[in-house]
């Protein structure tokens, strides 16, 4: 949707309402530096970035940029306002309050909100931004164009979902438990298979549960067995029961578990300590980050790696950091599981040695200098170990509890045979029961793992799809960039420019090219600033071209500053060729380029306007009623009449060269650069001489020589010779003379414009390409001398 007008009131440089009115056509706006051109671009950026302007994102502009957005001299009774009117008549109005907050209204918001700033506006300082951006930054800039955002979101959600399934299924804990059960199983049954273990259980069942109802359920068998064994143990003598409790304690693998916790702690420390140091430094910058994240376009410096990254890339960057921490998190979870197992074992030891039957054994040991060991055992809180298990706890367990287990093992060696057998069988059944239970747990773990694997495959598949689609779209954009580059730099030895997805890298895009047949991984390696800017312009235009079907406007704000004259000319060809069906708004402070654009671009589809030099904030931005640039010259009359006169002469040099070109004026041959250095006087001499016979205006039904125009040209020539040269070389010109010179020059140029249709005599060809004429045909010029 094209723009009809942009009206500003007390916004940036604007004072009383001033309107940029392309009327849905393309437009070239000329204004010297500071005349207020960029205020219109600022308005578009403000609208698209929800109240933020990139170049105002600094510490002095205020939270809502309220110190930079309103005109500094706005009277209290006036409002700061932007009003954008679209082709369909819909409007977006924004009223900006003193605190920088704003109120939006109008049906135009819907359309304008859909525009992507980076594909709508290109400013002078942003031309090479894409080239200088990181690979991730380039990817972020291209992502909306690639249309792959939903896939990116899906892939990231899947990545997080995989981790969530891991947590919800408690996979780490389950795996640790299964490892421990496997260790016990091996210690008790050696290399026996599950079937052989079940056979052992069956035999024990036959031995102890003859009177019990036969059951085929393996777990029920174990439970019946445990019940029977406990009954038999309860019937044993106190000595027998004590032996069994001590054997239970002796079977505990406390030493292995202490070692496991210690090993996990060492592993964790080796990765965590440097990380904590690094993260502490990151914390210092976190506040700055959070504040800056409000503006998604602002570049912020990553506290982790120091690179400047756009805020909207930060999310991706953080995710990469989290990925880096995944290994640490796994080690952390392993340690937690090891501590959990140790905690359970300590609780079992307390339970075995806390039994009433064991009390006499304990009393005896207290007398034998084990009192501290039991004091330590009693004071140890198994559950508290889960939350705090440091080296001192491990050392305490080793020093005080392991001797108790060793003593229990030694003293239970000589148990009565029946008690000994019952103890062995009880342990066998307990381990078998755990092993049978573990089979279910294994199945649960396998299911959870297969689910995670499925989610991971899906994520990888989507990322593959993203890469594949990116490549296709990037190839199309690259082709456009090459076409545009060739228009800007025909015959140059910089070829095969293309965007590409680096190998083995997600969310990254870079640019490569051939420089005199040598492959270059970056344009920054060999291209000059001017060429880099040229390439930046091509990239912007190639990306903007992809939105061609939406007919959205393009704003080019002083983008050719670093281009030489030749390449500025090429930009005109590029825009005409590739963007003839789009609304393009070019803003420039380059008078020569403006003149060139005015001559080369088709007046049927382009509007040309000039801004008056800025005087003061309360006067604000003002349009000149002329399309020429004499307002600049007049702006200097007060203080520098010589400069004003010099400007008038320069304007005539450039303007007349274009007119001469369009009229196919025949001039004396001059070699090489001299041809380009002809002055206004050289052109005027020929224009006057030829014009007397070929410049005609309509009078009633016939054409007559346009004598008023010839007179205007003659007067301008006379004054340029008399005062123009003085203004340029000896600075000896007074204000009235300079005023007369400017007026005469302006009148001379106006003499090529039709008073009826307001178009120049060079507007269009007529009568078999022999004549050019204005739009209505009231004025005409026959090519060449007759």
């Amino acid at each position: 949707m094209r723009i009809k007008s942009i009206l500003l009131s007390w916004f940036r440089g604007a004072a009383t309402p001033v309107s940029l009115e392309p009327n849905c056509m393309s437009m070239v706006v000329y204004g010297v530096n500071g005349s207020g051109k960029s205020s219109f671009v600022d308005a578009i950026e403000y609208v698209q970035k929800n109240g933020k302007i990139g170049h105002l994102a600094h510490e002095y502009s205020g939270k809502n940029q309220e110190k930079g957005i309103p005109n500094t001299h706005r009277p209290k009774c006036e409002k700061t306002e932007i009003r954008v009117t679209l082709k369909d008549g819909n409007e977006l109005g924004i009223e900006i309050k003193s605190d920088g907050s704003s109120v939006r209204s109008g049906a135009g918001a819907c359309e304008i909100d859909a525009w992507e700033y980076h594909r709508t506006v290109l400013r002078q300082d942003e031309v090479a931004n894409f080239i200088h951006a990181t690979k991730g930054g380039k990817y972020s800039a291209l992502l909306p164009l690639l249309g792959l955002h939903p896939m990116e979101v899906a892939a990231e959600n899947l990545r997080q979902l995989g981790k969530s399934i891991d947590q919800q299924a408690k996979l780490s804990d389950s795996k640790t438990t299964l490892r421990q059960i496997e260790t016990k199983k091996k210690a008790t049954f050696g290399t026996k298979s599950d079937v052989e273990i079940l056979e052992i259980v069956e035999k024990l069942h036959s031995k102890y549960c003859q009177d019990k109802k036969e059951t085929k359920a393996e777990l029920s068998r174990c439970e019946q067995l445990e019940q029977q064994l406990n009954t038999r143990i309860a019937q044993l003598s106190t000595d027998g029961r004590r032996h069994i409790a001590l054997q239970g304690a002796a079977h505990l693998s406390l030493k292995i578990q202490v070692d496991a916790v210690r090993a996990a702690s060492v592993k964790l420390a080796s990765v965590v300590e440097p990380l904590i140091t690094e993260k502490l430094e990151i914390l210092e910058f976190t506040n700055i980050f959070v504040n800056k994240l409000e503006d998604k376009e602002t570049e912020v410096t990553c506290p982790a790696c120091g690179r400047a990254i756009p805020a909207n890339s930060f999310q991706m960057h953080v995710n990469a950091e989290r990925k880096r921490l995944e290994e640490t998190i796994k080690i952390f979870n392993d340690r937690r599981s090891a501590i959990g197992a140790l905690s359970d074992t300590v609780k079992s030891l307390k339970s075995y040695l806390g039994k009433a039957d064991v009390q006499p054994w304990r009393d005896q040991l207290v007398k034998e200098s084990y009192s501290e060991n039991f004091l330590h055992l009693d004071s140890l809180d198994g559950e508290a170990l889960r939350t705090s298990c440091e080296e001192e706890h491990l050392k305490g367990i080793e020093d005080k509890l392991l001797p108790l287990i060793a003593k229990a093992a030694a003293d239970s060696k000589d148990a009565p045979p029946d008690a000994k057998q019952l103890s062995i069988d009880k342990h066998t059944v307990e381990v078998a029961k755990e092993a049978i239970n573990a089979n279910d747990q294994v199945a649960t773990v396998i299911r959870a793992e297969s689910l995670i694997s499925f989610i991971k495959s899906l994520e990888e598949g989507i990322r593959k799809e993203i890469r594949s689609q990116s490549k296709t779209i990037i190839a199309e954009i690259s082709a456009d960039i090459r076409v545009m580059w060739d228009i800007l730099h025909p015959g140059k030895a910089i070829e095969d420019i293309c965007l590409y997805v680096p190998k083995d890298a997600d969310k990254a895009i870079d640019i490569r090219l051939k420089f005199y047949d040598v492959d270059q991984d970056s344009p920054r390696l060999t291209l000059s600033e001017g060429y880099r800017n040229g390439l930046g312009l091509c990239i912007f235009l190639a990306m903007a071209k992809r939105e061609g079907d939406k007919d959205r406007p393009l704003f080019l704000d002083d983008v050719v500053v670093s281009f030489d004259r030749l390449h500025r000319g090429m930009v005109v060809g590029l825009i005409e060729k590739e963007f003839s069906k789009r609304q393009v708004v070019i803003l420039t402070h380059d008078r020569e380029w403006y003149t060139e654009l005015r001559q080369l671009l088709d007046e049927k589809t382009w509007v040309f306007k000039t801004l008056l030099p800025y005087e003061s904030p309360d006067i604000g931005i003002r349009w000149s009623h002329k399309t020429t640039t004499f307002a600049d010259a007049r702006g200097q009359l007060k203080d520098r009449p010589d400069s004003a006169g010099n400007d008038a002469r320069k304007i005539m040099d450039v303007e007349l060269s274009f007119i001469a070109d369009r009229l196919q004026l025949k001039l004396p041959y001059m070699r090489a650069e001299k041809n380009d250095k002809r002055t206004a006087h050289d052109f005027l001499v020929c224009l006057i001489a030829d014009g007397k016979s070929v410049y005609q205006k309509k009078f009633e039904k016939d054409y007559v020589i346009h004598s008023e125009a010839i007179e205007a040209l003659e007067k301008a020539d006379r004054l340029l010779l008399a005062w123009g040269n003085r203004a340029s070389h000896s600075f000896d010109i007074v204000r009235p003379e300079a005023t007369k010179l400017i007026d005469a020059c302006e009148k001379a140029l106006d003499s090529f414009k039709c008073l009826s249709c307001d178009k120049r005599v060079t507007f269009t060809e007529a009568a078999g390409s022999k004549w050019v004429q204005c739009q209505c045909g009231n004025m005409r010029w026959q090519y060449g001398k007759t």
């Binding site: 896939m151 997080q160 969530s164 399934i165 689910l451 495959s457 899906l458 598949g461």
Partner: protein, 70 residues
Amino acid sequence: MASDPSWVSTRINEAHKANPSVAESVLKNVEELLKAQMSERQLSSKELAEIAKTLIAANIAAPPEAEADK
């Protein structure tokens, strides 16, 4: 993208081929999620935890194909 989610089915089928033991109900569930909120916005950890629970339950409720085939 919700209106043109052909990539969802294709990618789910591919991932399923690589992980055939995942239950059909999980596939359906994930497909629906990918065609809706999972492609539209970044989900919160709470929302993802809920989805994770549902998928774990769905994957346990249905016997894995590999086992069912035995």
